[in-house]
């Protein structure tokens, strides 16, 4: 599904911190969030520290998963993350303000879809990870029920999803491969489709055909 992509820098979602936070606090988001965290935790177990979250937003995932540092372009989002106890730096994923090999783990959780240059952001993650480090990329899949739902909302002018460029599982793996990563483990969540979210989700190993949320753990390929 190749699409033209703007090379302008990522737009900080500055005005939408409250909208973004609201997703976590009421259904269906409140029923999906625990499942997504569960899937991410399956993959995090052996990742060496410290951990950077790129696109930390308001810090829900980062603080719960125990990230050591969060980065985001939006000051309004970071203020909320900081108040949750997550140390934060304002910056862009495409131009990380860190030295080479600074981190044992890096996360991009529902971040790839909001980056205007995901290729560059993945190369930056590669640069700032130690050789024994791992990258955790997780996102809603473009061709699964929730991806289709969000894309339709974006077309109708949704304040957040209008900026999102979702990827298929194959596109995500191709992006990771081009940036020098090899996917070693996969997990998923968000099995219930948009019109049938009745119970709290959980995480599963692998990426089943009905899952809308995929999490991929990658290592740096030997160059």
């Amino acid at each position: 599904m190749p699409r033209p992509r703007s090379r302008r820098p990522s737009t900080p979602l500055e005005r939408y911190a409250a909208d973004y936070d609201a997703w976590f606090e009421a259904p269906p988001g409140a029923l999906q969030f625990p499942g997504e965290v569960d899937a991410l935790r399956l993959l995090l177990r052996d990742l060496p520290r410290p951990w950077l979250e790129v696109g930390a937003g308001t810090g829900h995932f980062g603080s719960l998963l125990g990230a050591d540092l969060g980065l985001d372009p939006s000051r309004a989002m970071l203020r909320r993350a900081w108040e949750r106890g997550l140390p934060v730096v304002q910056g862009a994923g495409e131009r990380l303000p860190f030295g080479d090999a600074s981190f044992g783990g890096a996360f991009m959780i529902t971040t790839l879809c909001f980056l205007s240059d995901p290729e560059r952001a993945l190369l930056e993650a590669h640069r700032t990870l130690r050789p024994d480090g791992g990258l955790l990329v997780a996102d809603v899949l473009a061709d699964r029920p929730w991806g289709l739902h969000y894309r339709e909302q974006g077309r109708q002018g949704h304040p957040l999803y209008r900026y999102a460029q979702f990827h298929t599982l194959r596109e995500m793996e191709e992006l990771l491969g081009k940036a020098g990563f090899r996917v070693t483990r996969r997990a998923c969540s968000v099995i219930q489709p948009p019109d049938r979210v009745r119970e709290e989700e959980r995480g599963w190993w692998g990426v089943g055909h009905t899952a809308s949320f995929a999490a991929l753990l990658s290592v740096r390929r030997e160059s």
């Binding site: 372009p73 203020r79 140390p87 934060v88 730096v89 862009a92 131009r95 303000p97 030295g99 981190f103």
Partner: protein, 61 residues
């Protein structure tokens, strides 16, 4: 931000190390200050305990 963050912080443009200037510090937290990249040369502000290391062209976007 905490001082130990200086171990990993670098200029977002050229990736050189940064020089810290502290204007206000409370307990272990740097509340106001700046980070200088001598190579670029560029100064990045620290306000309300959060360093702004967006590349200069994005800072006022």
């Amino acid at each position: 931000m905490k001082r130990d963050l200086m171990d990993i912080l670098a200029c977002p443009v050229c990736k050189s190390p940064l020089e810290l200037t502290v204007e206000k510090e409370e307990q272990d937290e740097i509340v106001i200050g700046s980070l200088l990249c001598r190579k670029c040369p560029e100064t990045y502000p620290i306000t309300d305990s959060i360093p702004n290391l967006l590349p200069p062209q994005l800072r006022n976007a």
